[in-house]
Every structure is written in structure tokens, then in C-alpha cells.
């Protein structure tokens, strides 16, 4: 199911299937959690965030 990123088919997967939509929601949520955890543990001075969305 972790096929949204790097394949270039994120838009198609999300628009065509419920599984894709669920995966997108999970990816965004887990991404938020991962950033928060890393920021808390590592204390960076700068967070540079971007994503070529929704191409994947």
C-alpha cells in the first residue's frame, strides 16, 4: 500500500480508489507525526518542508 510516493502515480491512485485515499490520509498523518517526533528528538534549527504534491 505504500506505493503513493516515487511512482509518479499519486494523483491516479488517490482519485481512482478508496485504498489510495486512505493511503494518502495515512501518509499525511504519519508524516506529521514523523516530523513532530524528529523535531522533538533532534531539535533542528530549521525545517525545510516541501513535496511535489500530488504527483508523488
Amino acid at each position: 500500500m505504500e506505493t503513493l510516493a516515487y511512482t509518479g502515480t499519486m494523483a491516479e491512485q488517490v482519485s481512482e480508489s478508496l485504498r489510495g485515499k486512505l493511503a494518502l490520509a495515512l501518509m499525511l498523518w504519519r508524516g506529521r507525526s514523523a516530523v513532530r517526533a524528529l523535531v522533538k528528538a533532534w531539535r533542528p534549527q530549521l525545517v525545510h518542508a516541501h513535496w511535489w504534491f500530488p504527483s508523488g
Binding site: T3, A5, W29, L38, P44, L46, H48
Partner: protein, 160 residues
Amino acid sequence: MAGLVALYMLFTENVGVRSVWTIIQTCLILGGIFFSTGLLGEQIAVQRAELRELRRRMDEGTSRPRSDARTSDARTSDARTVAGPLCDARISPARRGCGGRVRARARPRHAGRGVEVQVLAPSAPGLAATDTIEGVRVRRYRYAPRAWRRSRTPAPWQSR
């Protein structure tokens, strides 16, 4: 003054002077425009000042002597940066999903200057949770339950 005279004439002599009211309307419109553009300009100036300050801080943090940079490691680096998913498989599939643009975007400006960079990116089938690409640590977070992680379509780097 023109407005006061116009009001005086309107109420005392029951005479309305159109030209005066036109001037008043024009002044009100121009005032509104000048006020709003001034406010906008001030906001822009504040943002630019903050940006300059941030750049100055970054330069201070990254322009330490090279000897410091050489001896700095993950625990002693002057600045730490979490970079978002700086990757695109179509640009650099050989990088196995993430980190291909690290060198292009983050590393040259910071490497060897006392700045430690970590890349945080979503995972994909076949990729390790952590990796080091050209000296930059890449962390990949899982976003699907373990049972769902089987890929139905191979990633670009898997089909090669």
C-alpha cells in the same frame, strides 16, 4: 475645509455644491487606497526584515571557520536542518526513492559548513527505514500497516 464649507452651505443655504462633494469623494477613495497600500507595504517590509534577519542568522551559523566544520559531527554541528522529501523517483530513480536531490538542493549549501541535514520522506516497498546517501541521513517513515505494505505495482527503481 471643503467638506465643512459644503456642509455649512447645505444646511444653512440649502445649496449642494457638486464639485465639492466630488472632491470629497475623490479624497476618500484616494485615502482608502493610500491607507491600504501603505498597510500592505508595511507588512511586506516587516516580512522582508524578518527574512533578512533569518538569513543573517543562517549565515552566522554556517560561516564558522572551516576547522570547526571539519571537526563537527552529528552532536556538535552548529545548525541542524530537517529537509522535507527532497526526492523524486523520476528525477533520480537510481537513488532508490529518496535523497537524489539532497546533493542538488541541500548539501552543497550546507555541507562542510557545520550544518547537519536530515531528510525525512515517506517510505516505499523495498526501501530501508534509514539510509545515508552521499553523507546525508535519510529517514523514511512508514505510513501503512505492516500487512498492507506489499506493493501491487513495482516502483520505478524495482523494475530496472
